[in-house]
Symmetry: C2
Subunit: 507 residues, 2 copies
Amino acid sequence: VEVGMRTLKLSRTYSCGGMEFSSLPLYDTSGPWSDPSFVIDPEKGLPPIRDTWSFWEGKSVVSTTATSSARRARKALDGGGITQMYFARNGVITPEMEYVAIRENQNLEQWISGFSRGSKKHIPVTPEFVRQEIAAGRAIIPANINHPELEPMIIGRNFRVKINSNIGNSALGSSIVEEVEKAVWSCRWGADTVMDLSTGANIHQTRQWILRNSPVPIGTVPIYQALEKVGGKAEDLTWEIYRDTLIEQAEQGVDYFTIHAGILREHLPFAEKRLTGIVSRGGSIMAKWCKANKQENFLFTRFEEICRILQAYDIAVSLGDALRPGSILDANDEAQFGELKVLGELTKVAWQFDVQVMIEGPGHVPLNMIEENMQKQLEYCHEAPFYTLGPLVTDIAAGYDHINSAIGGTLIASFGCSMLCYVTPKEHLGLPDRNDVREGVIAHKVAAHAADLAKGSPVAWLRDELMSRARYAFAWEDQFNLSLDPEKTRESHRSSMAASGRTDKNP
Amino acid sequence: VEVGMRTLKLSRTYSCGGMEFSSLPLYDTSGPWSDPSFVIDPEKGLPPIRDTWSFWEGKSVVSTTATSSARRARKALDGGGITQMYFARNGVITPEMEYVAIRENQNLEQWISGFSRGSKKHIPVTPEFVRQEIAAGRAIIPANINHPELEPMIIGRNFRVKINSNIGNSALGSSIVEEVEKAVWSCRWGADTVMDLSTGANIHQTRQWILRNSPVPIGTVPIYQALEKVGGKAEDLTWEIYRDTLIEQAEQGVDYFTIHAGILREHLPFAEKRLTGIVSRGGSIMAKWCKANKQENFLFTRFEEICRILQAYDIAVSLGDALRPGSILDANDEAQFGELKVLGELTKVAWQFDVQVMIEGPGHVPLNMIEENMQKQLEYCHEAPFYTLGPLVTDIAAGYDHINSAIGGTLIASFGCSMLCYVTPKEHLGLPDRNDVREGVIAHKVAAHAADLAKGSPVAWLRDELMSRARYAFAWEDQFNLSLDPEKTRESHRSSMAASGRTDKNP
């Protein structure tokens, strides 16, 4: 397979660990959008690169389910396995596995093999290693067979730490074109996946445009759309409406679903004792449904049926933490860890269907209580990848919650969390605009990269070494280009130099 | 003594742990500047509150050293002790000790006594406890007797984590009025101390204005001014020029001096093996001097004489880490830890003269190597307070280094670092402007507060609890006022609401 990457040309040759670098291949999430030879036309969408791999022929059929999707959706042959986990367990290396192996190495196999910090020996990622990690449930490649525009990526703690950004329209918030632009915009700054949390009108069409234009996996919370279909009344939700929503989104090509199947009626009394109750939107919808209908959460009782749907399109399930703490006082409580145990049980169920699983995590957690979250998640959830929102290490950082989240995120990722959900400066205050998205993405790129360094990633260390060599040599252009936001660093330096003429003011 | 505080009125009464709060006293670093009844006149300076305590009468005399300072400087009686450490060791509680005890408790003694998390029992800070910590060298109150405008504060790991901001004019960078404004500006956002790193013209007068207008301790790096006096040629520096500079600044009222006395000739070969050599400005000045003059660092050889000067004014010494790593690859190396051991020896020397000491720390350190820094500092430096720049956990976050620094800073402060030196978004790129100062200060307030929470500070936990109660109750004004930057949160919410009408977009 051909793997998208970006090669950064350096202004000179740097010598690192006996190797010479006059350029650096970068992990690139922006897909064709940053390719100068690509003509942007959101109405046409991106080229369907995965279709050219022809891997699905004979394994899938055109779906007969009627949907409003312009594209003809495919699904697995009846009784046929089609998920990455299915193939992995059967010893098959898919093009997606090969793709992510190449991508993780960034063409730096030689550097990786020669890298040493302490006694740890490093080896490049192989497609076979990817297969093993997926087979074991320790990593996932979210890649719906109906999202052929996707450039596959892997989420797991033995790979590069990833970040997710959220977008979402609402009646007044933003238009479809704006949302597509926002999705592309966050990938440009380094978002590895995007969650479309749209509510309100045009939800189907918005998602369609985003998917057709997205080189990264798209995740959704299907209960949001199901709720729209019942006029916003949680108590009126039914399994049938939810199921049809899953299929609708599955056939559009959504790569992973957040499903709040772990919140049970037995947890509700614990949540009621909390300072901030249930702050997860999906969680409060399901809590309301359970109470009104005096029944157990249908996402839990119907979980096997859900898995059969996910299995047919290879959609990963992101098991939502409906009971994530909304304040540090509620962190690590019975409600939270009670639900986490259920998520662990559901993980085993999903794996019976070869459905790829990740687990969502908190939330608001003081720094000293973060490690316990990671330990318990590994223990309860059988090493399925962990995907956290933050954690935010204080409740009072509104306006600066992207920093707050980056602090907790760095720590938990260094302990093994696989993906960080970004938080923007508008968290707790309002809807993010373009600049908030950029600030949020970069703050979490800092966190993810810092965690990669802490974990000893050879490719992460190389970039820092090149940056420091460029800095020591006053090679400004290389410094700008090696930074996480070349536009900002270039402009920042230019304007400051124009004003003063000095560069260093530290004692 | 009367202690400056700010009382935040809440829009309703919140019940926390059986107590009712309709207001919250806040720790306030802005001094009279945020007092609406105070008329601002930078030419006159702040009222000299410490003079009214009349503690120095009979213990100090008017200095006979000629300086250009407008104020008549005082110094200790010959042979008489005057430092906080001297009094602490002799069982005397000074007004400053009483002041900081009251200040740390924020009038919340009852809440503190009733607070429990886990099994830890909390007691309010007493003046006697402050005395003991200072006597043991575990905490310092930087308070030159010639800075009567100061509102005393304490730096030590059994107290609230503090932050420092840097300001500094340069020929083209900014004017004196701008620097005074910048100093006041950073205190307004929460800076606990300010370092004046000015170089170039008007250095004496700038400092004079800053001191007369500063309610927080002012620190300097005297070697910068000494270097100006020899035309910028490091090799021409002499002990006499440096000594006179110390006295000049001492009599103006500088509260602490960064002194790079720990870098020795034996360390230089280690520094030369590094990726980024010596990045500390003071460090490279002294390295250059040692090499050119083929002599040992005079700040080291004359350290006892330096202590005699500091002792006479009660100036704290901040032992500079000339060999702090400038890249993560250089972290925790022989150069860095070799110097740290020398700083530990110098700490003992300073304590012989009852001079208060803190130790400066790195720098660029990957997350997994931060804890070792704290452990070694405690071990080598006999528990003297640690004061770090970051650490920055990656080299590639230019433009976002305030976030980078807040990440490492939170972690090291949670391990016991007492004060964090702020880093602004302009780090590695240029000189910070007003907005950079604000962003840098708040990012490190987030870090310091998050560390206080991790350490179980009852007053820190109260503020978060109130914030979360206000959030749960949609009490927007209280949320704004309880946040670290009420102006930003208020404006952010207002503009976002105007655009969309929604508040919560998390899955």
